[in-house]
Symmetry: C2
Subunit: 126 residues, 2 copies
Amino acid sequence: MKIQELADRMGLSVHTIRYYEKEGLLDERHVERDQNNYRHYSDEAIERLTLVKRFQSVGCSLTELKQILLGLDTNTTTTQQGIEWVLSKIKEIERKKEEYDQVLATLNRMLEYKVALQNGPGKEHR
Amino acid sequence: MKIQELADRMGLSVHTIRYYEKEGLLDERHVERDQNNYRHYSDEAIERLTLVKRFQSVGCSLTELKQILLGLDTNTTTTQQGIEWVLSKIKEIERKKEEYDQVLATLNRMLEYKVALQNGPGKEHR
DNA sequence: GTAAACTATAGAGTAAACTCTAAGGCAAGC
DNA sequence: GCTTGCCTTAGAGTTTACTCTATAGTTTAC
């Protein structure tokens, strides 16, 4: 598929996709060039970008993502070191999930307060 | 307490704290000025910045945070509208938590793969 | 066969959230 | 009393992740 189609399917702009390629998040398994020099994307590009979006949405920078993808692609970092990296990342994500729970708690308090205000104005305090 | 102490306690830089104040995330309940014009922070500043960090860590922009804090501070946005905003925010956070679970799943797959490689090299495939 | 729509590149511009610098005033220790 | 270190402001600089522009070639539709 060509870049515009991929962009539409992924909900990204063509600029962003080219930018990701420049940043090394896509490689020959995902993009090739037609005779006319147009980029041609494989289905693997979809998978890759889905992964990119997913990790990005939990706060990974593109630099960090490159590390992660490298870890998925090659066995180079396989060893105690690589395992420890993944473990620390897992801990980090779990901490973040706890943060989310605390934010949810705050939002729920806000909600209850607002609902109470709406239902019984004049009794706001206590 | 003075700005450096607050910064140390919160794990922020003094620059960042002044920046937050300029952006309207802190007000007279959190900062006052001594005779020498030094900023003097109340304990409420700690609570406030904790909240700021918490919401920020789940992807809220400072602009959005200002809205949230306004909603906590005043009753101005209390009405159906405000309630709906909180509800939509809660949905958003819940969606994000699901993303986190997917990322955790990916990391766990990476981990298993790496552990398997380390324990039985030569049997990487299948 | 030509206009509209898509592709390419290089590079400039933007927004958010810091981060740092300069130039100066205040304060605490020796 | 003076050096060292923290405080002030205004404003410049940085980083990240886009986002857009200019210029030009290609493809598709009528």
